[in-house]
Symmetry: none
Subunit: 121 residues, 4 copies
Amino acid sequence: MNIAISNTSDKPIYQQLYEQISAQILKGELASGYPLPPIRQAATELRVSIITVKKAWEELERLGLIYTVTGKGCFVNDLSPSEMLQKRKEIIQKQMVMDASYYKSFGLTLEEVFELLKEIY
Amino acid sequence: MNIAISNTSDKPIYQQLYEQISAQILKGELASGYPLPPIRQAATELRVSIITVKKAWEELERLGLIYTVTGKGCFVNDLSPSEMLQKRKEIIQKQMVMDASYYKSFGLTLEEVFELLKEIY
Amino acid sequence: MNIAISNTSDKPIYQQLYEQISAQILKGELASGYPLPPIRQAATELRVSIITVKKAWEELERLGLIYTVTGKGCFVNDLSPSEMLQKRKEIIQKQMVMDASYYKSFGLTLEEVFELLKEIY
Amino acid sequence: MNIAISNTSDKPIYQQLYEQISAQILKGELASGYPLPPIRQAATELRVSIITVKKAWEELERLGLIYTVTGKGCFVNDLSPSEMLQKRKEIIQKQMVMDASYYKSFGLTLEEVFELLKEIY
DNA sequence: GTGGTCTAGACCACT
DNA sequence: GTGGTCTAGACCACG
């Protein structure tokens, strides 16, 4: 678990948390069954509130990436490689649709988007 | 001036406003010297608060796309075609850098981004 | 808005809240566009924490029964009668599946369930 | 003894235990005097904590379905067929009353409950 | 004024 | 020990 929190970011802390963890799971860096740190421990280490960690963990569960066992802890779900790819695609494209509508509002064609993206990626 | 406001969007209204207007300016749809509608009129027509319109106009001025003449109103800046292209690129890429960092966090290569973007654009 | 909170119930408060409100919406008692009370007001009146009300409102939004406008408030969604029936069925059957599995574990047939249910309904 | 435990279920494990065992007793699958497995053995086989099994056994005793002989173990109570039917009805209807109140809160008539239940049972 | 987020504690149920 | 819930405040962005 390697998480970086930015208090100055415009993104809420809980969103930073679940975005980073979901990315790690979907990159295969956290194997199935891997136990997430206890919310209290995570809260202490990251210097955020328990409730903030809880919110992030809840979102991960809603995304189907982890499961919770009361009294035991939270664990990375067992997903087949194809399920992982599918979930990754879903999560990324959900964001991408919004990004694309922004580009479109400036009249950019797909080719122009590619050109600009190439310069900075 | 053709603006569409969505109250249910997650984007703040003032942001929807300045994004759409800046896009129209940079697409050349609003010529230099074109007078933006008075704040009160715009607020009435769009059924939003005066404060909201003011915030959007201020952002446009900050972006260097319009200028304000006290007591007269706000007008589209006089930009050379090359300046327009430059500003458009700046504004779009500023957003694009953030989008890209999100994609990168999932380990996507530039090619994968292209693939996914193609599907939805 | 007529809500009854029980602190002695085994159900969490936020669940009592969204169950009662969703029931009222799906019974048509709260018309489309009806503004829910502001979370702070609701929290004060019901003598619960803001965060508890927020959680209930969030669940209602997730169920597609209300929508939130930041800075304005939360409002009952505009659903066609058929959509309402569909949502009602979804929500109720989700619970019903769990109830049924309990009855089945005692070896009850559908007819026996009907018999017992008739006595108490 | 045929017990299936789900760690991911929302039901507590001890509840899953006593529900399944009480169902088996009331279906007559476990005859009177039948000795329940020792707590430690059950805990090992089911891979749950001793405390969890103990809690389940205690609940069964509270329901009047088993009795404990210190130093010997726990045994299924001797119930006449009519007592069994009575207890089964009690236990099921106790749950059913809660289920029914949920359905009622959505304004469902008994007939509507039957319709929906038929689809999933 | 509204909702969105966050904190630093607390108590409870489950294992 | 774990997660589940809750409180009573607080600050911020939006309108």
